[in-house]
């Protein structure tokens, strides 16, 4: 596709439920990143995928968070047993492998936990 696509654009759910967020990167981009942006804050790194290498999970805030990526395409971020502090915009970005090109972002999923 022309850009990074994320779905859903908005998600409202009750505390304790599981949610799944989806990201379709730009075609040909082997690197894929998930970030979280809380209200009024900068972007926090969550997890990074590069090709078939093991993902860098160093930014995941707890074991309730996990992510998968199928090859070099779609990724899903799963949050289990959601808490109110999980409310944020979840942004996905992708880039070419060599790191010499900028990351391009999707529009994000705005997650609200009631």
């Amino acid at each position: 596709g022309a850009g990074v696509s994320q779905s859903p654009s908005n998600k409202v759910t009750e505390k304790g439920k599981d949610v799944e967020l989806r990201c379709d990167p730009i075609s040909g981009h082997t690197a894929l990143y998930w970030y979280r942006q809380r209200l009024g804050q900068g972007l926090e790194f969550l997890i990074y995928f590069q090709g078939n290498s093991a993902p860098d999970k160093s930014g995941l805030p707890s074991d309730r968070f996990s992510a998968e990526r199928t090859g070099e395409s779609v990724s899903t971020l799963t949050i289990q047993r959601t808490q109110q502090e999980d409310s944020a915009v979840y942004l996905c970005a992708s880039s070419f492998r060599d790191g010499l090109q900028p990351q391009h972002f999707g529009d994000g999923t705005r997650l609200s936990i009631l």
Partner: protein, 110 residues
């Protein structure tokens, strides 16, 4: 720990003014510094800087990097209301996650 600090945190100007946004950083294995503009949704890419002293320009926006003093500035001349946004600075150590500053919220008043 890698760190990016942006200033000011917020700024209100009138249309036609010139603004300068600041970004300082501490990072191991610096590769590049990036500026993004964030309006309501996705941060959109503005500039990627890798070399000191070389100005990058796009219309009324320009940016320059000083790798000795570890900072960058983003200039916007003849500001317009459409320039109102959060401007994000980030640094990269290569093919790794970006480290972002908290952003500068710019409001341009007609």
């Amino acid at each position: 720990e890698d760190k990016v600090v942006q200033s000011p945190l917020s700024l209100v100007v009138h249309e036609g003014d010139t603004v300068t946004l600041n970004c300082s950083y501490e990072v191991t294995n610096f590769r590049s510094l990036l500026w993004y503009k964030q309006e309501k949704k996705a941060p959109t890419f503005l500039f990627m800087l890798t070399s000191s002293g070389i100005e990058k320009k796009s219309g009324r926006l320009s940016s320059i990097l000083d790798k000795k003093e570890l900072f960058s500035i983003l200039n916007i001349t003849a500001t317009q209301t459409g320039d109102s946004a959060i401007y994000l600075c980030a640094v990269s150590s290569g093919n790794t996650p970006l480290v972002f500053g908290k952003g500068t919220r710019l409001s341009v008043i007609a």
